[in-house]
Amino acid sequence: MQKTVKILLTVLLLSLLLSGCSAPGLELKNRLIVQAIGIDDTQDGVRVTLQTLNTEMAGNPNSGGSLGEVVRCLTVEGSTVSEAISNASKSEGKQPLLSQNRLIVFGRETAEHGLYTHLDYFVRSAEARTTVPIAVSDTTAEELVTANFGENVLSADSITDILDGTRYNINIVSQELYSLMNQLSSDLTDAHIPILRTQKEEDKSSISMFSVGIFRADQMVYELSADEVTALMLLTDQAKSGFFSVENEAYQAQTVLKIKKTDTSIKSEIQNGRILFHVNIKMTVDISESRAEKPFTLDEAYLQQTEELAAQRMEDMVLSAVHRCFLEQNSDPFGFGQRLWQRHPSFFKANVTNWSDTLPDTEVDVQAQVTVERVGNGVENL
């Protein structure tokens, strides 16, 4: 009898824990399930554009178009991000749910003014994920977040798919919230965020990766070109897969190479008081395509030349990017300073007060080694 009472009491107590969603306004049907958030500065504060899931449509996929698009966008304003987001409930009568948010976008102007003031809410909120991707819109965040990709297409999904392309394209960079916060608060590494561009074609829009914005403190100050983005990927050891091409004048051929594996190591050295970085890139590639006016056999000489040309291309790309960032922009988005701090802490403490002031006197040498592993099915080019 006593045992039965104990079990009943336990079940009764446990049932109290089932009340998680019973509080007013917390049921899913009463929530605005946010998929993407766009943030633009205004004169009085901030304009937040929310891309939300149309739960009525998502719950009734066979009901046709009567329930509207799969996503709904709404724009709200407030003096801060949290105030603007909470204002969404005034116009929609639903409380925003951020735990499913897939993307945070900042408008170009906002990124140039500074991001710190807008990020605290996402770091502090228990609902927001710290791995959420961050992007900058080439125009306004509102334009990117409200972009129409076609009927029943989750545009937040499409945008994150583009950013996910970093796994197989060496011109695409992605940035997550926690990593961005680390870079923004660092005195040594300048933060980078991908910039996306919206292109409108009649009723539909398309979005593509435009460039990468580099930040000093929390303000976007300059952009990287496509080759510089590849250099950034190589120097942060993220260029794991992708394609690039080299021109072989002797064979009058253009060879497209598919990256299979890349390993970049950066070592710092102090030589007579000067800071020197040795960058070593080891890359394994396959020949994806060889385009020439006349057919020829892919012989050993050709393969060796291809390897040398590819290595030269990598070295030039990295040196050119480093030169521009270090000398022209006085900026280090690659994390060289962090490595120097790690490897030579006593030198750093004694000699470096401001890392960016040291950049013009810093030397970087690059050694790339490219190995062609496979040539594909065709021994001759076609």
Binding site: L13, E127, T131, N182, S185, Q342
Partner: protein
């Protein structure tokens, strides 16, 4: 401590390790002195050395007074000293219960139910812990051992699924500001909770040789703490130092295929561990009160201790328990030194002197 139920010394050190790991899990740099991330790694080794040094009274107790807990040892000096030490330990354990519950409430209120009042959860947790405490050390020992396996499993899974986010570039150089920050962090880590005081009370309830289990426990703590901190700082970098609960924040990075938010695994392990620690503390308070007062009211003691903790937490939270977090390192070290080192040392020295005096008289 007289009682029929016993657990193995391995089970005891499993429960104590779990209790210690809860403190690592709830590690919060917010409000603490900011030190470079890599300085935490040597601090764990220093903390292990400090814990070993603080364990000397425990070794003496086990060697010279096997089968006796610290209040039994005090009884050999004077019954009054035994009663006084029992009550002081009860107060100390009551305080540790409050601290554990306050940390749990802070975690639940901030992360799990940020939009709801966490009072209901706390009431349920204390009710369950009271019930577990009345079941005795055997039940707590068994659940503690299983929970340790679950805890390690959950954390291993999280480590594996977030391994791709680990980047040693995120780490700072070691000892960049000298050895002092690491030593301070070590003292903080070693004195964070009083597992050695728990062991001084629970040792007679454990069968078996203590040496191997103690060494394994200390080694496991060092390895687990190093691994946890490595994944936290190599994964999150300095961002970890801006988070209220960095271990939970790093669990949020764990992703596998389309599955996200594995932090729920850690949340489960955290709540289970806190429940076992609170149960253990309530059980020890009941056992010690039985020594000072009547033995037949053991369940009433658990209930009273649970109610007291609950009332303080629900109605006076922000005064008692927050004081512990806000008090700073020196206050915590004093509390630790008094109950883990000074009180047992004084009792042991007095008991040994009295024993020697008796032997001299007899001879």
């Amino acid at each position: 401590m007289k009682g029929s139920a016993k657990i193995s010394v391995w089970q005891l050190f499993c429960v104590l390790l779990l209790s210690r790991l809860l403190s690592t899990l709830t590690f919060s740099p917010v409000g603490a002195e900011k030190i470079n991330t890599s300085d935490y790694f040597p601090s764990v080794l220093f903390a292990a050395i400090l814990i070993f040094l603080f364990s000397i009274p425990l070794f003496i107790q086990k060697h010279f007074f096997p089968g006796k807990d610290i209040t039994d040892v005090a009884y050999t000096v004077s019954p009054l000293l035994s009663k006084a030490s029992s009550i002081s330990y009860v107060l100390c354990f009551l305080f540790f219960t409050l601290v554990s519950l306050a940390r749990l409430e802070m975690f639940v209120g901030t992360i799990v139910f940020p939009n709801n009042d966490s009072a209901l959860f706390i009431i349920l947790c204390v009710a369950a812990a009271c019930y577990a405490a009345t079941l005795g050390i055997e039940a707590i020992g068994r659940v503690g051992t299983i929970s340790l396996v679950l805890f390690v499993g959950a954390f291993l899974f999280i480590m594996i699924t977030m391994a791709d986010k680990v980047d040693p570039v995120n780490l700072s150089p070691v000892f960049y500001e000298g050895v002092k920050p690491s030593l301070t962090a070590a003292l903080d880590a070693a004195t964070r909770t009083g597992e050695l005081a728990f062991a001084a009370v629970l040792l007679p309830r454990a069968d078996g040789k203590m040496g191997k289990a103690y060494a394994a426990g200390l080694f496991a703590f060092t390895v687990c703490a190093e691994l946890i901190l490595f994944f936290v700082f190599a994964g999150l970098g300095d961002f970890a130092l801006s988070q209220m609960f960095p271990v939970h924040a790093v669990a949020m990075l764990a992703e596998f295929s389309v599955f996200l938010r594995f932090d729920v695994l850690l949340t489960g392990a955290w709540i289970l561990t806190a429940f076992i620690k609170i149960s253990l503390l309530l059980y020890m308070q009941s056992e010690l009160l039985q020594k000072s007062f009547s033995r037949k009211w053991n369940k009433l003691y658990v209930l009273c201790a649970g109610l007291l903790v609950l009332i303080i937490q629900v109605f006076f939270a922000g005064t008692v328990s927050d004081y512990y977090f806000a008090a700073g390192l020196s206050a915590r070290v004093i509390l630790y030194i008094v109950f883990v080192v000074a009180v047992p040392s004084v009792i042991l020295v007095a008991a040994l002197m009295k024993r020697r005096g008796k032997r001299a008289k007899n001879s």
